[in-house]
Symmetry: C2
Subunit: 257 residues, 2 copies
């Protein structure tokens, strides 16, 4: 390896310890739906998100008066204000609020990565701003796929490929990680027909079973926001990335909340 920054992709939280790099920025990815929902909340002006791993913690925050978004296996927990769909996080509900958030896979991945240099939340909704910020930070990147209960997930791994490709295209990154090569290749297969490709993901069927698969196209929409959620202490806070030409060159699809 030369003097470029490295990229690694971790396909499941079960093996995160093998990819852990204390000097790296970890991008947490749970496309369907946690990290797409978190990016949506910040796009719509949420002040902070407090990710918590357990239902017990979420309940305690609720008892203290916080607004709580919490789900398990796609279903809203009974004490929660709402669940995991990005469509919940509308401006009139979330603007200037603090929200506690707990999900099946995504919030666990955020906590797992917390001992790295910095944790940031990735989704298609902020992919170009995220890339620009990572390039400006100029350090190693680990993309942590939240997966499904420690299984490999196609939609998260595919996003890892999309982001890896953008980082490599910047000229500042290289990789010797087999998972990155794999992610790049599935992205190559999928990218020209993304919305059809993703229909074979197991998570599509899980969501459809509960009538929740109407978010899939939205969660695969590029660059709806310039805000990236960054972890500071136990809070996710918004960071506005100044737009540049690269961002404007991306063809945005027309899904809006």
């Amino acid at each position: 390896m030369g003097s470029k920054n490295s990229i690694e992709v971790c396909f499941t939280p079960a093996i995160y310890s093998l990819h852990h790099n204390p000097e790296a920025i970890v991008v947490v990815v749970d496309i369907l739906r946690a990290t797409s929902a978190i990016c949506t909340a910040f796009m719509n002006g949420v002040k902070h998100i407090i990710p918590v791993a357990t239902k017990k913690e979420a309940k305690e925050y609720k008892n203290r008066g916080y607004m709580v978004a919490a789900e398990r296996d796609g279903l809203v927990l009974d004490f929660a204000d709402f669940g995991n769909s990005p469509y919940n996080f509308t401006r009139n509900k979330v603007e200037n609020k603090d929200i506690v958030y707990s999900t099946t896979n995504g919030t666990n991945a955020i906590h797992l990565a917390s001992s790295c240099y910095r944790v940031v939340i990735g989704s298609y909704l902020n992919i170009s701003s995220l890339t620009q910020w990572l390039v400006d930070e100029n350090r190693d990147v680990v993309i942590l796929c939240a997966g499904w209960k420690n299984r490999f997930s196609l939609e998260d791994s595919l996003f890892a490929g999309a982001l890896s490709q953008k980082l490599i295209d910047s000229g500042l990154y290289e990789t010797i990680c087999d998972s990155v090569h794999c992610a790049l290749d599935i992205w190559k297969v999928a990218k020209n027909d993304l919305n059809n490709y993703i229909l074979k993901a197991a998570q599509k069927s899980r969501l459809a079973k509960n009538g929740l698969d109407d978010v899939i196209d939205y969660c695969h929409t590029f660059d709806l926001t310039n805000v990236i959620p960054i972890m500071e202490g136990n809070l996710l806070k918004p960071y506005l990335v100044e737009s540049n030409n690269d961002l404007n060159n991306i063809t945005c699809q027309n899904h809006k909340l």
Copy 2:
């Protein structure tokens, strides 16, 4: 899912428990080099192979007079007769012998899978006979990639794609497993230029560091043998699959020992 058999791919032994199916046949894959070496040994007439997970066990067998093949991180253990290169397992060395075998990743994966219906050893060297036998057995299949110290490995996952494609082409298998879809897609990218594709695998660099990468083309050669190694008790035994037309239709490359 309909009435077809299922295929799952497990990308790393670290999450095997999530893919465990007591009714399935598990195909253990460690293309560079353990399962290619084991298939070579049976092609050349070895009687039994006794896979052992630990160095201690391998040493004990050695002390009892067994021939031992054992390596860690690509290097031969000092008490062993030879290491993990398929080139070691020539007919004059192995014919009619019992060999004890212990490797960094492959033998561990074999033991991990032992509570399934049956464990079989897969490599490109026997891929068509293996497919034919699996189709005849007509049950669920889990392809277990040995990986590298619980990391994802490109060469094992690619083989998982090649084997999954053959099983799906038989018409008897289907999948809802995201790892299978991923493996199929990287196989699609790689298959027309396999020997160049695989050069980006991290294991290529690890082998090259020790001057051991001369086996890579050999380990990606199709159908040198009709013998498949099947686990019975604590022994791998050979099973000869009668050749059929499908096997003959495969274009064999010309790598021979």
